[in-house]
């Protein structure tokens, strides 16, 4: 959330049209707001007096747990939109499932944020269809973006030990259980958008466990955490 919110906020002031600028800022705001809710709760569960801000601004890359796809640079509007769509199509059912979590806080965050995610999905899906259909150039750009991001999509559905533990306690479902429905939606939308799904099921992994990141995350953290790092102890 934080990582994607940050990337999305990079569009502020330079989006393709004023309306897009405003809409992307809205999405970035939602994501940063959601990140805050999750990080606050993580701090509470950890019980080591770390606030949402400490978790966001004082951890180094190996303590960041995020999908690799979300830390990749924006590159262009095509990649931005394809990334949002691939992610939103996972987020909506995922948050719906979390809304039914046995954990009260997770359930309430899930309920609260799924509305936003629904709106994001509606928007990214429509835009994928519009730009896939649009002109030859827009189709080519969208196809390239899909090709570039596809090897990162599978990470959303990889289960690890923590996922299995959470499922055991009915806190969250297994990510892999979301895959089938996601594929169906993605196939349908890309079909409407005249985009061809890459014929590969290879997937990068390790971001959610903090085992591996791309080189881009370090640069993102360098700017994001600059003030908190350069002036420790100051309040802002």
């Amino acid at each position: 959330m934080l990582v994607l919110g940050h990337r999305t906020s990079e569009w502020c002031g330079v989006a393709p049209a004023l309306e897009e600028d405003i809409a992307l800022a809205n999405i970035a705001l939602d994501l940063i707001g959601q990140a805050k809710l999750w990080l606050e709760y993580a701090g509470e569960v950890e019980d080591a007096e770390r606030t949402a801000n400490t978790l966001a601004f004082r951890r180094d890359f190996y303590d960041f747990r995020n999908l690799l796809m979300l830390e990749l640079p924006n590159e262009d509007y095509a990649r931005t939109i394809i990334r949002h769509f691939l992610f939103d199509a996972f987020q909506v059912p995922w948050l719906e499932a979390l809304a039914a979590s046995s954990d009260e806080t997770i359930s309430s965050i899930g309920q609260k944020t799924v509305k936003e995610a629904n709106y994001h999905l509606e928007r990214s899906q429509d835009t994928v269809v519009a730009l896939g259909d649009g002109t030859e150039e827009s189709n080519t750009r969208m196809q390239k973006a899909l090709h570039d991001l596809w090897p990162y999509a599978g990470e959303m559905f990889q289960d690890d030990e923590i996922d299995r533990m959470m499922q055991g306690e009915s806190i969250a479902p297994l990510p892999s259980s979301m895959k089938k429905a996601w594929e169906l939606r993605v196939e349908r939308v890309f079909n409407d958008a005249f985009l061809i799904l890459p014929d590969s099921d290879f997937s990068h992994s390790g971001g959610r466990q903090g085992i591996r990141h791309t080189e881009h995350l370090g640069h993102m953290l360098a700017s994001m955490q600059f003030l908190q790092r350069a002036y420790p102890g100051a309040s802002w």
Binding site: C12, E19, N26, F57, D133, E137, N139, M224, L227, W236
Partner: protein, 329 residues
């Protein structure tokens, strides 16, 4: 101000008896405080001046996104990041309202963008200064949005209906921005030595450029008379600048920051603060393209516009195809 060098035609007001009956009726309506609406008859010069002024104002809003956008990715906390992002988003919204208001006068947003990109239309000089520290986010909210409010509150009563209504919406948000900026300054002025230094430095750098926002001194500003008669300009530049200084001086004292002007003192006789004029040579340089960031700002806007062309074309093409498919069904 956001429209600080609007070249208007007619340095002096034409005497009422020399006006045509239509023009006289128009002026009478304005004098009675009536609003002019898009469908109403209006003198060509009134329309042209308004387009220049609203366009310049709109451009200022969107170019104004850039200096603050520069710090969104470096905002120090999640709350500050969200607030700043929301603020810069508001400015995009202001641009949108104003381009819509200009459209009612028969000029499209694309045409206005084109004039901006070709350097045929200006935006406020203030946005050609760089933002170097986080304290600049405080200084801009406090001083720049503060100066914008000074100018825009009276414009809520401007004679052109769509412009006046856009101003009402915008002013509400601007005063929120100013409070937010002041909050940042306050936090920093009460913070560590480093933070105080940043806050003072930001005030040092933004003080005179903020005074320039009101435009040249009245004695050098020859274009106002007709605009005032038409009520598209409500106060003189110096009047508003004085009001701004009078409001900001005590706030700076409250923050414990020094305004970089040794001659700034309260004058018992006038009931106002005396203050030093900004360097007008610098102002005219910045206005004519030689400010610290003019080229970068314009290049950033042009790049965003050019990079986004395929997106806008794609959306348009899709909308057309969709409509055709509907017809075919």
């Amino acid at each position: 101000m956001y429209a600080q060098m609007v070249k208007s035609t007619g340095e002096t007001v034409v005497a009422k008896e020399k006006l045509s009956p239509k023009e006289r009726e128009f002026q009478d309506r304005i004098d009675r405080g009536e609003k002019i609406e898009p469908k109403d008859w209006m003198p060509e010069e009134y329309r042209k001046n308004l387009i220049r002024q609203i366009g310049q104002h709109a451009h200022s809003e969107i170019v104004g996104q850039l200096p603050e956008g520069n710090w969104i990715t470096r905002a120090p906390t999640l709350e500050r990041k969200a607030n700043l992002l929301a603020k810069v988003q508001d400015e995009a919204g202001h641009g949108l309202y104003l381009y819509c208001a200009a459209e009612t006068l028969g000029v499209s947003r694309d045409e206005l963008f084109d004039m901006l990109h070709k350097g045929k239309m200006k935006y406020s000089s203030i946005f050609n200064y760089p933002t170097l520290t986080w304290a600049d986010m405080g200084a801009i909210g406090w001083l720049v949005d503060g100066a914008a409010i000074m100018n825009q509150v009276p414009l809520q009563r401007t004679s052109y209906g769509p412009y006046a209504r856009a101003m009402v919406r915008i002013c509400k948000e601007e005063s929120f921005h100013q409070r937010q900026g002041f909050q940042i300054m306050l936090t920093m002025a009460q913070g560590t030595e480093d933070q105080k230094r940043m806050a003072q430095d930001a005030l040092n750098r933004f003080w005179y450029p903020s005074l320039m926002m009101f435009g040249p001194s009245d004695k050098d500003s020859v274009h106002s008379a007709q605009s005032m008669a038409w009520k598209i300009k409500m106060n003189s530049n110096d009047e508003l600048r004085q009001k701004f200084v009078d409001e900001i001086a005590p706030q700076a004292a409250f923050l414990g920051l020094n305004i970089p002007d040794d001659d700034l003192v309260w004058n018992e006789k006038t009931g106002h603060h005396d203050y030093s004029e900004p360097d007008w040579d610098e102002f005219f340089q910045v206005i004519s393209g030689n400010g610290p960031c003019n080229k970068e700002r314009l290049d950033a806007r042009k790049k965003a516009w050019n990079d986004g062309a395929w997106v806008r074309d794609g959306m348009l093409a899709h909308a057309r195809k969709k409509a055709m498919r509907k017809v075919a069904e």
